[in-house]
């Protein structure tokens, strides 16, 4: 199929950056870098040296190692939480948009309730009652993502349910399950997939914000948000300690957005209709 691919050098830069971050996060254990939690009180806030390529932080921990191990946490939370939202929200939206009626009223009502609940309060409440852990953080962020995915899925399902190919499938004797799985899901999956990558970007930012506030990843585990938070304390002496993780966070989120947009444009067969 000969479609002009909207993949410029920017797309490949973004994809390579995500690739580097993901690979580094996966193989962090075997990389020749110091432990991210080993402190060296006599080498605090040092500039780049051979032993510490990006220098050390205010407790003398290796910044490069913390960035790489931070990628592990930021990425796994950033990917897993939207998976929860995608799975639950996508299914709810698809069913609500297809079956309509009371179920739809129930789902959209529930979504509005979740949206009305302040996310920070929820995060604080969960942290207070269930304790501060990466799993709890992922669950909270995933739960908060459900409404958006539900809305995207429901809106897309409403559009596609009204199309004649659904009526045609029913006329050919398709049951509810087949119409939802074979006719609607492949269509709804496109906007949901694009929204998922956006969700990853947003979740990484929110995780950073929560960790910055001390509600996210518990110390001493490194995450980019935690590092920015810690770097804030020595902003005048060593601005790089906050700037480096912020830069990495910014580039990663930007890359996910870029790749998400491009993939959506590439995989949308309807664009070729023109």
């Amino acid at each position: 199929m000969a479609v002009a691919k909207p993949t410029g050098p920017l797309f490949w830069c973004a994809l390579s950056w995500i690739g580097i971050i993901v690979v580094a996060a996966i193989v962090a254990g075997v990389l020749p870098i110091p432990s991210p939690t080993d402190m060296d009180i006599f080498a605090r806030r040092k500039g780049p040296t051979l032993a510490h390529l990006l220098g050390t932080d205010s407790l003398g921990r290796d910044v490069l190692a913390r960035l790489i191990y931070g990628a592990r946490i930021s990425l796994s939370v950033g990917l897993l939480a939207p998976v929860i939202g995608l799975g639950i929200g996508g299914a709810l939206g698809l069913l609500a948009g297809y079956f309509r009626g009371r179920f739809e009223i129930f789902v959209t009502g529930g979504v509005d309730v979740v949206l009305a609940f302040p996310p920070l309060i929820l995060a604080m409440a969960v942290t207070a009652f269930l304790g501060q852990s990466i799993v709890n953080l992922t669950l909270v962020l995933g739960f908060l993502g459900i409404p958006a995915f539900t809305r995207v899925a429901r809106a897309a399902t409403l559009t596609f349910s009204a199309r004649e190919f659904v009526t045609a499938a029913r006329a050919l004797g398709a049951g509810h399950a087949r119409i939802i799985l074979k006719e609607l899901l492949p269509n709804v999956a496109l906007p949901l997939g694009a929204f998922f990558l956006l969700g990853v970007a947003v979740t990484i930012v929110v995780e950073g914000a929560l960790s910055f506030l001390g509600l996210g990843v518990p110390p001493p585990a490194p995450s980019w948000g935690v590092m920015i938070g810690e770097g804030r304390e020595s902003l005048e002496m060593a601005p790089a300690l906050a700037f480096l993780p912020a830069m990495v966070l910014f580039l990663t989120v930007l890359s996910f957005n870029l790749v998400g947009d491009t993939l959506r444009a590439l995989t949308d067969p309807r664009q070729g209709a023109l």
């Binding site: 006329a171 050919l172 004797g173 398709a174 074979k182 067969p269």
Partner: protein
């Protein structure tokens, strides 16, 4: 027993202004292997009639009357039985092949899906049959087309694919709902001829719904003309075109552009608008626009009857005179 018997069906659609009567007491029969043309302008209820037959009416629509297919009343059978009946016995071809095909699935998967599901055909066999069907409906290099997406085909090709999908489970009744309205004039005739050919060779019953009298001429055995939710004239096709009795049918016919008319001839359009389907007039619904109407026409709805010739029914108390053959 006819294949399809539609008995006095009424379809009501709830609207913010009140109940809209989309179909108002329609009776039809269709035998196996026969073709019925249903003609009417937009909003005359022809599509709602076809949706009622398929039990695919909008969720809140109310239907009364009986629709017997092969002796089974479609309005009373269990959902599962209905699903199986649809799968094996009826199929539809819609107006716009752009929206009646799933944009993100290949032609092949849409074509083989139904066969695998309903006929229990294994995938390899379904692909062979699919390729044969595509060839049958006149698609060149069908093997390659199986892997294509709908947007890679032209409008006419897409409609051929839609027809192939409709034919895949060998239906006894094919409902073609304005199958050529969205297509080029040159492609229209090809698609109609394809439908007619398939209908004959497969001995299917076919209901051809259109707003164009020219489409049903020569391609149907019988024609039912609909106006404001009712059948206003029904006759064997040849009979209808030779001896139109209902002024509405004659007006529709006169509104067709003629090739031999001199340039800049005004088309004799039908003046006025169809009656409000929410508050229909008590008398003949065409009377306000009818050239021949008089006071008696506004009193009561004329029933569909065949006073002169068997099989030629019309609903009019001031019918056009029967032309005497010269």
């Amino acid at each position: 027993m006819s294949l399809l018997e539609v008995e006095n069906i009424v379809v009501d659609l709830p609207t913010p202004r009140g109940m809209l009567r989309a179909v108002d007491g329609v009776n039809l029969t269709l035998d196996a292997g026969r073709t019925l043309g249903v003609v009417g302008e937009s909003g005359s209820g022809k599509t709602m009639l076809s949706r009622a037959i398929l039990q695919l009416l909008p969720r809140r629509a109310k239907l009364s009357g009986a629709i017997r297919f092969d002796g089974q009343d479609m309005t009373r059978i269990a959902p599962e039985t209905l699903r199986k009946l649809r799968a094996k016995s009826v199929a539809v071809v819609f107006q716009d092949p752009m929206t009646s095909l799933n944009p993100v699935l290949t032609i092949g998967s849409q074509l083989t899906e139904t066969m695998r599901e309903h006929l229990g055909v294994p995938q390899s066999e379904a692909i062979l049959r699919g390729v044969a069907l595509l060839a049958e409906v006149g698609i060149p290099s069908p093997e390659q087309r199986m892997g294509n997406y709908p947007h890679q085909l032209s409008g006419g090709m897409r409609q051929r694919v839609a027809i192939a999908i409709a034919l895949s489970c060998a239906p006894k009744l094919l409902i073609a709902d304005e199958p050529t309205t969205a297509l080029d004039v040159t492609v229209q005739a090809q698609i109609l001829d394809l439908l007619a050919r398939e209908q004959r060779s497969r001995h299917m019953a076919m209901m051809l719904i259109t707003h164009d009298l020219g489409v049903v001429a020569g391609r149907t055995d019988e024609v039912a003309v609909m106006y404001a939710g009712r059948v206003v004239e029904r006759a064997p096709t040849r009979e209808l075109f030779h001896h139109m009795r209902m002024p509405y049918t004659a007006a529709l016919m006169a509104a067709l552009p003629k090739l031999d008319a001199p340039p800049h001839t005004r088309l004799p359009a039908i003046g006025g608008r169809p009656p409000d389907p929410i508050n229909p007039p008590p008398g003949c619904s065409f009377a306000p626009r009818c050239f021949y109407a008089d006071a008696a026409c506004d009193k009561a709805k004329p029933p569909l009857s065949a006073p002169d010739r068997m099989a030629h029914q019309f609903a009019c108390i001031r019918p056009l005179p029967v032309k005497v053959a010269a």
